[in-house]
Amino acid sequence: MKLAPIENLGFRSLVVLEHLGRIAQFGLRIVACLLVRPYRIRRYLSDVYDAGVLSLPVVCLSGAVVGGTLSLLGYTTLVRFGAEEALGALVGLAVIRELGPVLTALLVTGRAGSAIAAEIATMVTTEQLDGLRMMSIDPVDFVVSPKALALLSVMPLLAALFIVFALMGGYGIAVGLLGVDGGSFMSSMEGSVKFWNDVIGCFSKALTFGALTGLIATYRGYISEPTSAGVSAATTGTVVTASVAILVFDFFLNGFWGV
């Protein structure tokens, strides 16, 4: 009996490994569907609208608030060393290298990823995917791949927008509220943010997170049980798994490539 938890551990690891294998296979199927005709451009555009355009208010508002908070926080520290003109560098680097892509990915996972998982899971429950199969249409091609590609492609755009709003928020608070000189704020930011290292790094992070969220959300919806509990499990599972995966990948991207 004392061995039960250890046996359980083995079983659970196997389940996790099996899911990892399946998710990789699923990802390859999505890529294969995207590469061959027909290209589902209309469905893709409507999914981009759902995942991207409808996420705009959340992303813009959060960006501005995060930028402002960084300014407030950075100023109290820097002013002790008389280095408040370095505030621009601090806000710029923090937002572009780290907070922009990561927070955008978490926001988009919560807003669009969960919606996509719930939609696909509902289609499983109401036999819509089986209906497609019976019409000789591959649901991965017709439903899943446009959604996954939509999440992948909106992520860098939304991250860029988040960053723009965060920088504006940071500038507004620093210059308008805290009395930092606007010129030195901008020049310290310009001097410290490097295009190839920081901006391209940010872009590749956002792409990675977009792929992760797109893959996890669609996979979780696709394999859900055909019940209402299955739909809710798919939604929760997507948010939890994708959020943790984003943070873990972020750590490794930082650690290994200094992105």
Binding site: P38, M123, T126, E127, Q128, D130, G131, L132, R133, M134, M135, S136, I137, D138
Partner: protein, 276 residues
């Protein structure tokens, strides 16, 4: 009516078994569905009627045994090979399974857009023709959520037959419908069979309409199937069939000595409820 020869079967099960957990859903099930006839599959809830239909469509694979559809053993087919078989099959799901992100028109047009090179104009006239045939001529612009149960089932029927299948699988077409809609769908299905020669496989527990439609009845009991012409089966002495048929009639309560008197003592009668 004579029993059809094996080669006339459009769909045939041979020794099919399927277990779900501990429970055997099919236990060596063998039966056939003849070409151009209406076969009605009867059985209680959980007898595996829907599973049988899904298996013919290749949506569910058997643990053992073989399923032949249109002279091909589909048991070991890959998804891609199944697509070829499914081109000859139409399926009407119990809930309709219309895509709720698309209008009724787009739903019915979908197979045509995906699998034919018809011009837009031809697709339009074809879809309108099908919708008119099921009595939904003016509803093409509506979304499935705006339709009533009977209407969405008819729309789904229009979609199932738009590619002119040889075999039409119909899962519980009458459940949850009022008598007028039952008659309407029944008439549509019979028309399809009589005029176009479709092989129809219908699951149902609606006895009256089943008997009106069926050329052949298939009873699902204890994981196997008992098939035959309606006249033979209705007079059959087989206990399990007699049981099922009697359960349909109002003699059921007598036969099983069901006693409803305990229900007469209503603990939730209005005067005992919590006042709000």
């Amino acid at each position: 009516m004579r029993e059809p020869e094996v080669q006339e079967f459009r769909v045939a099960f041979d020794g099919v078994s399927l277990r779900r957990g501990e429970r055997a859903i099919f236990d060596g099930l063998s039966c056939g569905f003849p070409r151009g006839q209406v076969s009605v599959v009867l059985g209680g809830s959980g007898a595996g009627k829907s599973t049988l239909i899904r298996m013919i469509g290749g949506l569910q694979r058997p643990d053992s045994g073989s399923v032949r559809v249109a002279d091909q053993d589909i048991t070991g087919f890959s998804e891609r090979e199944l697509f070829k078989v499914r081109d000859r099959i139409g399926m009407l799901f119990q809930g309709g399974a219309l895509l709720d992100s698309m209008t009724v028109f787009e739903n019915v047009a979908l197979p045509l857009c995906e699998h034919t090179h018809l011009a837009e104009w031809d697709i339009q006239s074809e879809v309108n023709r099908r919708l008119a045939a099921v009595g939904l001529a003016e509803t093409g612009h509506l979304y499935p959520r705006e339709l009533s149960g009977g209407m969405s089932r008819r729309a789904a029927l229009a979609r199932a037959i738009v590619m002119d299948p040889e075999i039409l699988l119909v899962d519980e077409p009458f459940s949850g419908l009022d008598p007028i809609n039952v008659r309407r769908i029944e008439a549509l299905l019979i028309d399809l069979n009589r005029h176009l020669g479709l092989t129809l496989i219908v699951t149902s527990h609606h006895m009256a309409s089943s008997l009106r439609m069926a050329d052949r009845l298939v009873f699902m009991v204890d994981g196997i199937a008992i098939a035959g012409p309606p006249a033979d089966l209705l007079n059959s002495a087989d206990e399990r069939i007699v049981e099922f048929l009697n359960a349909e009639s109002d003699r059921f309560a007598e036969r099983h000595e069901l006693d409803v008197t305990p229900l007469m003592d209503r603990r939730t009668s209005p005067d005992r409820r919590v006042k709000s």
